[in-house]
């Protein structure tokens, strides 16, 4: 267990260093070291400290948040097809963000609006699924999927009525974009805190994966655990979406990829998701901003292009 996590740590660190070195302007390792030591020329210093480091850290945090949220959703709903957005959370955030853009608000208010939209979506789905008091994963999933479709309709409407010049900005938000994250500290702190919070619950989650009755029979307080996981997963997803828009794919694929290699023990999977998800998004973002520079691609495209072949390879190997 320690070994696999150490390997992931090293890989994550290498990915971050790569991201700091690469860009439209290549910074050689010597220059990189010079800048870290406090010297180096002004351009390199600006590039590193004000552009690349916040962006890379934000990408790492976002990737980690999405992967952990995905793993939690999959356990909560006992469904391998679940991802962080399945319950309509990203739709609510998108509606919040687009509304803010439509009314011409500044970037801080856009983020705040996105977060509010995400939390509203969470409460809405939870309240609707609760209904007559019996709250099962399938009921939650069904409610979530329908509400997500509803948000999708609202988003389409907003795109249709917005003045043409606002469209590119909205589309980039929807495709996911790490470049606008100004400070990486909120998502990083949320990620670190959530791992600390969830680790003691991880064995409970292993038991919960056997089924709620089984889990109860083995001493797990199922309902409180499910609520906790739901709220935590929603908070993680809301933070991720607020930081970088709705980046797809990471939350669905990273937990699966790790399960193929590391098994099903949540005590390993959850911290591994944080590391691997972060690494994937850092690599994807580096590619997105360099592969056809100076053109800038949306990072969500790259996560899919990177993730699909990797996953298929692992699946093939696991036979």
């Amino acid at each position: 267990m320690i070994r696999s996590l150490s390997v992931l740590c090293v890989v994550a660190l290498l990915a971050v260093l790569l991201a700091l070195a690469l860009g439209s302007v290549t910074v050689s390792p010597i220059d990189l070291i010079a800048v870290i030591q406090g010297e180096g020329n002004a351009l390199h210093r600006t590039l590193l400290w004000e552009l690349r480091l916040p962006r890379t850290l934000a990408a790492f945090a976002t990737g980690g948040l999405l992967a952990v949220a995905g793993a939690l959703m999959q356990v909560l709903l006992r469904n391998p097809l679940a991802d962080p957005y399945v319950l309509g959370l990203s739709g609510g955030a998108a509606v919040g963000a687009l509304l803010a853009m439509l009314t011409g608000m500044g970037t801080l208010l856009i983020s705040g609006s996105a977060f509010a939209g995400a939390m509203l979506a969470t409460v809405l789905v939870f309240g609707l699924a609760h209904g007559t008091g019996s709250w099962t994963p399938s009921r939650l999933l069904l409610t979530g999927v329908v509400v997500a479709a509803g948000w999708g309709a609202v988003i389409t409407l907003m795109l249709a009525i917005t003045p043409s010049y606002k469209l590119p900005g909205m589309l980039y938000w929807l495709m996911g974009d790490v470049s606008y994250a100004r400070t990486p500290w909120p998502p990083l702190i949320v990620l670190a805190l959530s791992i600390v919070l969830v680790l003691p619950l991880a064995r409970n989650l292993n038991v919960l994966a056997r089924g709620p009755m089984q889990a109860a029979a083995l001493g797990v307080s199922v309902r409180p655990l499910e609520w906790t996981i739901y709220i935590l997963a929603s908070l993680l997803t809301a933070t991720a979406v607020t930081t970088a828009g709705s980046i797809g794919f990471v939350g669905l694929i990273v937990p699966h990829m790790l399960r193929l290699v590391l098994g099903n023990d949540q005590r390993i999977i959850l911290p591994a998701c944080a590391l691997a998800g972060g690494t994937l998004l850092v690599l994807a973002d580096t590619l997105a901003r360099t592969v056809i520079a100076p053109e800038q691609l949306p990072v969500g495209v790259i996560t899919a292009l990177l993730g699909v072949p990797t996953f298929l390879y692992l699946l093939h190997r696991s036979r």
Partner: protein, 293 residues
């Protein structure tokens, strides 16, 4: 008596203030007074229109960074690219070390513009919406670039040209016109748009002139109901001109019946630059033909 040392001293003294106050200032679209310690030497233009305007201001040689589609004048095509106006490659921009960045209020992404300011770059925002604003922008850009002589001359040439057209078409019979910006979705412009102003200049009556939106999306039905006498659209170099074919099936439309479906070059009319003069001449010419038909 040889007074040349005195004359030399006087000359030197007179030029001193000019050198000390080499600071240049101009007010941008946001109402911000943008000042530089001396005329800009390395200018970045973050829209194709800004690139053209900078060349018009006589400072083309000082432009070091442009965005996609900065294709006019031809010399601009050799300047390094820093992305698209909707998504700038900030690293590439910073690497080119501009001392002045010309931004487009509604075209550039607000978040990236905020970032540019935080990184300490001097930005000058433009958004010309009238002919007078176009010439005004050329003048102000030339002040910031230290090329007032060429810039003011170009601005004056533009003003005179527009005034001449305005005079020529002052008493002409107005003709109802529909300008098609895009086929699907069907888009047009209102009188607040520069294209709308070009139409007005030539005595055209934009049937959608008083729509509240700058670039409204409309349906074929309302166009049929408005029954313009002439339909205009922009022709893009290298593409086939079939964007007006879909109107031909409505033989009852006045414009169709009289054969008044015309193309004009798209690039000059779509940008807020001195080429609006050529665009106006082209539009006026087509409207004249339409009046004959």
């Amino acid at each position: 008596m040889n007074y040349w040392p005195v004359k030399a001293l006087l000359c030197a003294l007179l030029t001193l203030p000019a050198m000390a106050w080499a600071e240049v200032c101009a007010e941008d679209r946001r109402g911000v007074q943008v000042c530089l310690p001396e005329p800009a030497k390395r200018i970045a233009t973050l829209s194709p229109g800004a690139t053209e305007l900078m060349f018009a201001a006589g400072a083309g040689e000082k432009v070091v960074a442009v965005v996609n589609h900065s294709d006019y004048p031809p010399a601009a095509q050799k300047i390094p690219l820093v992305g698209n106006h909707t998504r700038i490659d900030l690293e590439a921009l910073l690497a080119l070390e501009p001392d002045l960045v010309i931004t487009w209020v509604t075209g550039n992404p607000p978040a990236q513009m905020e970032m540019l300011q935080e990184l300490g770059l001097t930005t000058f925002a433009i958004e010309p919406r009238t002919f007078e604003q176009v010439s005004g922008v050329i003048e102000r850009l030339s002040v910031l670039a230290g090329t007032e002589k060429e810039g003011y001359a170009e601005a004056q040439r533009f003003r005179a040209g527009i005034a001449a057209i305005a005079e020529k078409y002052r008493n002409v019979e107005p003709i109802p016109v529909f300008y098609q910006v895009w086929e699907t979705p069907l888009m047009t412009i209102s009188d607040d748009h520069l294209i709308g102003k070009v139409l007005q200049l030539c005595g055209g009556l934009n049937v959608f002139g008083d729509m509240p939106r700058l670039v409204p999306r409309i349906s074929a039905e309302v166009v049929l109901a408005a029954d313009p006498h002439v339909i205009l659209t922009g022709s893009v170099e290298g593409t086939s001109d079939d964007e007006l074919d879909h109107w031909k099936s409505y033989s009852g439309m006045t414009a169709v019946a009289r054969g008044n479906l015309f193309f004009i070059p798209a690039s000059p009319i779509s940008r807020p630059t001195p080429r609006l003069l050529e665009a106006s001449e082209a539009v006026c010419q087509k409207l004249d033909i339409a009046r004959e038909n």
